[in-house]
């Protein structure tokens, strides 16, 4: 009787480990795809426009070519770099966690730590790009910073899309950390 219940408990334990591994794998693969898309969407964003500039009131306005690129703003550069790092980390941790299968406790803890750090970096990059994008959208009269988005509409649309996609990616990393916590909580002997 005792050995039967013991083997059933063992099977449930192994089955739990299998399903938990699938959730982990799916989340990491989704995080890889999402951060890659976010980095690419902002990385290829560029718009060239002719801006009418009035030099002298008597002459008609001259069309000056101006361009908007992601590399002109340091917050966007930070955003692309962090998303690229998170994408690379998602691939590496996917391979490591598949190879580990929960055997080495030290490696699992290291993966949780790096998941946490990546999550914090991704959230900070989303905040940074959103703050700068908001200034570009509305301007700031107190410091005489002009709006940019009324001229470069397509560029601003790409920035908004990249921020939204990266927000999804950071939520995925958050879910990864919470999933690891739930696994630990389940395996404790109360």
């Amino acid at each position: 009787m005792e050995t039967e219940s013991h083997t059933i408990a063992k099977e449930i334990g192994v089955a739990n480990k299998q399903t938990i591994r699938w959730n982990d794998f799916v989340l990491r693969f989704l995080a890889f795809v999402v951060t890659l898309v976010a980095a690419i969407v902002l990385g290829v964003s560029k718009q060239n426009e002719l801006v009418p500039v009035q030099l002298v009131p008597t002459l008609p306005p001259i069309n000056v070519p101006a361009s908007a690129k992601w590399s002109y703003m340091s917050a966007f550069v930070y955003f692309v770099i962090v998303n690229a790092i998170a994408c690379a980390y998602a691939v590496i941790s996917l391979v490591l966690s598949l190879a580990n299968k929960g055997k080495t406790k030290g490696l699992s803890l290291t993966i949780i730590l790096f998941d946490l750090i990546m999550m914090a970096l991704l959230y900070s990059s989303v905040g940074a790009a959103a703050a700068v994008g908001l200034i570009g959208y509305k301007g700031n009269t107190h410091v005489r910073w002009n709006k940019v988005c009324d001229v470069f509409g397509k560029f601003c649309g790409q920035v908004v899309a990249a921020i939204a996609i990266s927000l999804v990616g950071s939520i995925l990393f958050l879910l990864l950390v919470l999933l690891a916590t739930v696994n630990l909580h389940k395996n404790i002997r109360h």
């Binding site: 959230y123 908001l134 700031n140 107190h142 002997r189």
Partner: protein, 196 residues
């Protein structure tokens, strides 16, 4: 005849043995370093969140240009978000500090409390990191300016304002590092409770 003194001896020895047995157990409990480090880290997070909010709120500077023009944190939505997010983080870290103090005094239900506090800490880390990133990027643009979009430097004119804002962001960066250490500590102490 030999059993009689044996019967007499135990009852007199029994009350002498009992108080000796009652004394040792309270002193054999080892100090739980994880719980103490937990409380200390949470106090640090609460203190740094409080310091950040106070320093950012008092960072007002007025310059005569010749009209008096002030620089306040309410002029920028990113800085308003920073103050709001760090206030929320300070409030929740105060609650979790009290909770872990309670679990330090009354050990026994610590595993469940640790798991619930990990969730709160991870969410707080997300909020504090995004607030730090937002305020940091806006302040960096104010510090260096941006020639491509014709956004001028602000910090050459308002030195005290920029110093206060920069210090506040630095302290909130410290708070987010403390939150990472806190979650790491909690996860490590949870994993130690798992049977091998």
């Amino acid at each position: 005849m030999a059993s009689e003194p044996a019967k007499v001896v135990p009852p007199t020895e029994a009350p002498v043995v009992e108080p000796e047995k009652a004394a040792p157990p309270p002193t054999t409990q080892p100090t739980d370093y994880f719980a103490v480090a937990d409380v200390v880290l949470r106090l640090l997070v609460f203190a740094s969140a409080l310091v950040s909010v106070v320093v950012m709120s008092t960072s007002k500077e007025t310059k005569m240009l010749p009209n008096p023009r002030p620089a306040k944190f309410t002029h920028s939505p990113a800085l308003i978000y920073f103050v709001a997010a760090l206030s929320v983080a300070g409030f929740f870290s105060l609650i979790t500090t009290l909770g872990s103090l309670y679990s330090l005094i009354k050990p026994g239900c610590s595993a469940k409390i640790i798991s619930h506090f990990i969730v709160i800490d991870v969410l707080l880390l997300g909020i504090v990191a995004s607030a730090t990133g937002a305020a940091g990027s806006v302040t960096y643009v104010g510090l260096k300016g941006n020639t491509h979009v014709r956004w001028g430097k602000v910090c050459t004119l308002y030195g005290k304002f920029c110093r206060y804002v920069g210090a506040s962001i630095g302290v909130s960066l410290f708070a987010s590092v403390m939150l990472v250490l806190l979650v790491l500590l909690s996860v490590y102490s949870l994993s130690k409770k798992i049977p091998k």
